[in-house]
C-alpha cells in the first residue's frame, strides 16, 4: 500500500525536477513552487475520506498520473475560432494545455488593459510586485492538495490587470484548450486577474478540448476586485466526455465592489468547481450563480464558499442542476457570516431537476452565522418535471420527448439568461437544447 501511494508522487516529483530545469524563475516563485510541491507530497490528492470530497472520488486521477505535456502545438487560428464568440474575437487569450499561447491569442481589442503570460508579468518590473502580493494569496496551497499541485507546476498562465477607472468594452475571454490527442496529459492553468479601483470589465472563461483521450485539467483562477470595481465573470466548462476537470476560483472583493459570476458546467467525465468569494471590505456585493448539467457517466460537483467578513455586504446565489441518465451531481454551498459582519444580506438557492430514476444529486446548503443583525436565507430543492406542465405542452401537439426538453431548457434558462453576452447566451441555448435532445432521444 505504501509503495503504491509513493509511486505516483515520485512521478510528479520527477516531472517537477524537469520543470525546474526547463523553466527556471525568480527566487520567490521558485520558493512558492517548491513549498507547493512539498505540500502536495504530504497532502496528495483528496480522497472520499475528506468531508469536502465525500461524494467525488478522484482515485482514478491519482492512479492515472496525468503529467504536463511538453509536446509542441500543431493548432492554428482556425482551430481556435470555434471557441470564441462574436464579442471576443479580438479579445481572446489562449492557454494551450495551460501554457500561454501568444500566436493563438488575439488581444487587439485589449489595449486598455494588461494581458500577459503570467511568467512574463513576474519577470516584468512593473508587475512583479503586484503578482507577488496576489499570487497564491486567495487560493492557498497549504491545505489543498490540488491547488498545491497546480502551484508546484506553475510555468505560465495569464496575468490580467484592468487599470484604475478603465471600463473595458469587449469581454475578455480566456480559452483553455486541452489538446487531448495525446493520452494522459495534464494541464495546470493558472490565472490572476486584478480589477483595479473603479474599473469595470467582463471576463469569460471557456474550457474546451481537442481530441478524445482522457486528460486532466487542474485550474486555479484568482480574482482580485478592488474598491469600487465591477467584474462580470462567466465561466463555461465544456470539456470532453473523457476529461477530469478540477478548478478553483477564488475572489476577494474590495469596498463597494461588485462581482458577478455565472458558472456553466456541461462537460467532463468528472468535474469539480470550487468557488470562493471573500468579502473583507464593507459594501461589497456578489452574485454567484451556476448551472450544472450531467448525463450518462458524468459527475459534476460544485462547492461554493461565500465568506462575509465585514458589514454591509450582500451575496446572492442561484445554482441549478439537471441530472439525466445515471449522471450524478453535488452542490455544497457554504455561507459564512463572521462576527461583526452586521447587516449582511445573504441568499442562497439551489434547485435540481432529476430526469431519470438513476440520476442523483446530493445538495448541502451550509449557513454559519456569527453575527446577530443579518438577513440570511437558503433553500434547496430536488424535483422532477411537472406532469401538468408536460400535459400542457402535449395538449399543444408537442411530443412528450420534446416537451421534456423544452421544460428542462426552460429550467436552465433562468441561469443562462444571466450571462450578459448575447452570442454566448445564444450558443449556450443551443448547446443545452442539443444536449438535452440527444440525451432524451437516446433514452427513449
Amino acid at each position: 500500500m505504501v509503495t503504491e501511494l509513493a509511486k505516483p508522487q515520485n512521478k510528479y516529483e520527477e516531472a517537477f525536477r524537469a520543470l525546474k530545469h526547463r523553466k527556471p524563475t525568480v527566487a520567490w516563485v521558485e520558493l512558492v513552487r517548491e513549498s507547493a510541491m512539498d505540500r502536495f507530497e504530504s497532502l496528495g490528492f483528496p480522497t472520499v475520506a475528506d468531508e469536502e470530497w465525500k461524494y467525488t472520488n478522484l482515485a482514478q486521477v491519482a492512479k492515472e498520473q496525468f503529467l504536463p505535456t511538453d509536446r509542441e502545438s500543431k493548432l492554428g487560428a482556425a482551430d481556435v475560432a470555434r471557441f470564441t464568440f462574436a464579442e471576443t474575437t479580438a479579445s481572446n487569450v489562449v492557454l494551450l494545455n495551460g501554457i500561454f499561447n501568444a500566436e493563438l491569442s488575439n488581444t487587439t481589442a485589449l489595449d486598455k488593459v494588461v494581458v500577459l503570460d503570467l511568467f512574463d508579468a513576474i519577470a516584468d518590473a512593473r508587475y512583479n510586485k503586484l503578482v507577488r502580493s496576489y499570487l497564491a494569496r486567495n487560493s492557498n496551497y497549504h491545505d489543498k492538495g490540488l491547488t498545491a499541485l497546480n502551484t508546484a507546476f506553475l510555468e505560465s498562465g495569464v496575468f490580467v490587470l484592468i487599470p484604475k477607472d478603465v471600463e473595458l468594452d469587449a469581454p475578455l475571454q480566456i480559452t483553455y484548450i486541452a489538446d487531448a490527442n495525446q493520452p494522459g496529459a495534464a494541464s495546470f492553468p493558472r490565472v490572476l486577474v486584478v480589477s483595479e479601483e473603479n474599473s469595470s470589465a467582463k471576463l469569460v472563461e471557456n474550457f474546451v478540448s481537442i481530441g478524445s483521450s482522457a486528460y486532466f485539467t487542474n485550474a486555479v483562477v484568482e480574482v482580485v476586485v478592488k474598491h469600487g470595481a465591477r467584474l462580470v465573470h462567466s465561466r463555461l466548462q465544456n470539456e470532453s466526455a473523457n476529461a477530469f476537470h478540477v478548478a478553483t476560483t477564488s475572489a476577494e472583493l474590495g469596498r463597494g465592489s461588485s462581482y458577478n459570476s455565472t458558472a456553466i458546467n456541461l462537460g467532463g467525465k468528472l468535474a469539480r468547481h470550487d468557488i470562493s468569494v471573500v468579502m473583507d471590505h464593507e459594501g461589497a456585493e456578489c452574485w454567484v450563480d451556476g448551472l450544472y448539467v450531467v448525463g450518462e457517466n458524468q459527475h459534476s460537483d460544485t462547492h461554493s464558499v461565500i465568506d462575509h467578513q465585514q458589514p454591509y455586504c450582500n451575496s446572492h446565489q442561484l445554482y441549478k442542476g439537471i441530472m439525466d441518465g445515471n449522471g450524478r451531481a453535488v452542490f455544497n454551498g457554504k455561507v459564512l457570516v463572521r462576527e461583526g459582519a452586521q447587516k449582511t444580506d445573504a441568499l442562497q438557492t439551489n434547485k435540481n431537476l432529476l430526469l431519470s430514476p438513476q440520476a442523483r444529486v446530493d445538495t448541502k446548503p451550509q449557513l454559519e452565522i456569527y453575527a446577530d443583525d443579518v438577513k440570511c436565507a437558503h433553500g434547496a430543492a430536488v424535483g422532477q418535471l411537472d406532469q401538468d406542465e408536460l400535459f400542457y405542452l402535449q395538449a399543444r401537439g408537442i411530443n412528450p420527448e420534446l416537451a421534456k426538453s423544452l421544460l428542462t431548457y426552460g429550467f436552465a434558462e433562468e441561469v443562462i439568461e444571466k450571462i450578459g453576452i448575447e452570442s454566448i447566451r445564444a450558443q449556450l441555448d443551443k448547446v443545452v437544447m442539443n444536449q438535452l435532445h440527444t440525451r432524451l432521444e437516446t433514452q427513449s
Binding site: E389, G397, P400, E414
Partner: protein
Amino acid sequence: MLEVRNLHAAIDGNEILRGINLTVKKGEVHAIMGPNGSGKSTLAKVIAGHPDYEVTAGEVIFEGRNLLEMAPDERAREGVFMAFQYPIEVPGVSNAQFLRLAYNEKQKHLGLEELDPLEFKDLLKERAKVVEMEASFMTRSVNEGFSGGEKKRNEILQMAVLQPKLAVLDETDSGLDIDALRVVAGGVNQLQSPENAVIVVTHYQRLLNYIVPDFVHVLANGLIAREGGKELALELEEKGYDWIKAEMQSNGTGAPAN
C-alpha cells in the same frame, strides 16, 4: 365530428363521468354547463387526454377515429384543442418559439409546410389581431407573469395559430373581467367556421352572451341532466342549478347523499 358514447371516467378510483353521450357536428357550438363537481371540466380533460383521468367505459370518436387511443399530443395535431382553465407557465421559452414549435409539429404531422422564424412571425402577427395581443407578448416566456386575462387571451391566440377542428374551452371565462371576456369571446367567434366546432365548458351563462351556443347540455353528477337550445342557459341563469339536482334526486339518477 365528435361522438361521445356512454363515457365513464374516474380519477383516483372515483367515478366522475357516469355515462356521457354527446354528438358534435361541424359548424356547431355546444355549451356544457353544470354546477361545481358535475364533471364538466373532467369531460374537457378526458377529450384532451389528461393522464390523471382513467376512462373506465365508453368511447370517444373523433372524425371517425378512436380518440381515446391517441396520445394527447397526437390528438392536438389531429385538430383537438383544449383551452385550459389554468394555463401553465413555461419559463424560459418565448411565446413565439413555443407557438412556432406547436405549429410546425402540426404541419409536419399533416404533411404540410413548416415555417421558419421569419415566415412564422408574419403569420403570428396576423393571428394575434384576433385577440388584440401586442408584439411584446411574443418575446415573453409562455404565460410567465401574465395576468389571468392575458393567459386566457394567450390560450385563444394558440387556438388561432393552431386552427383546431374541435376547440374545447374549459371555463375560459373564469376570472375574466368583462373587457377580457369580450376579447376572448370575440376571438373564438372569429375562429369559428362551418368546418370546425366549439365546445364551451362554463359554469355561468355570461360567456354565452358572446359565444352563442347551438346546443346546451347541463351536467350533474356525471350525467347529462338536461339538453336544449340557448334558451336553456338563460333558464339556468334565472333558476340556478338546484332544481336540476333536485330533479335528478327524485328520478334516482343523482349520486347518493353523502
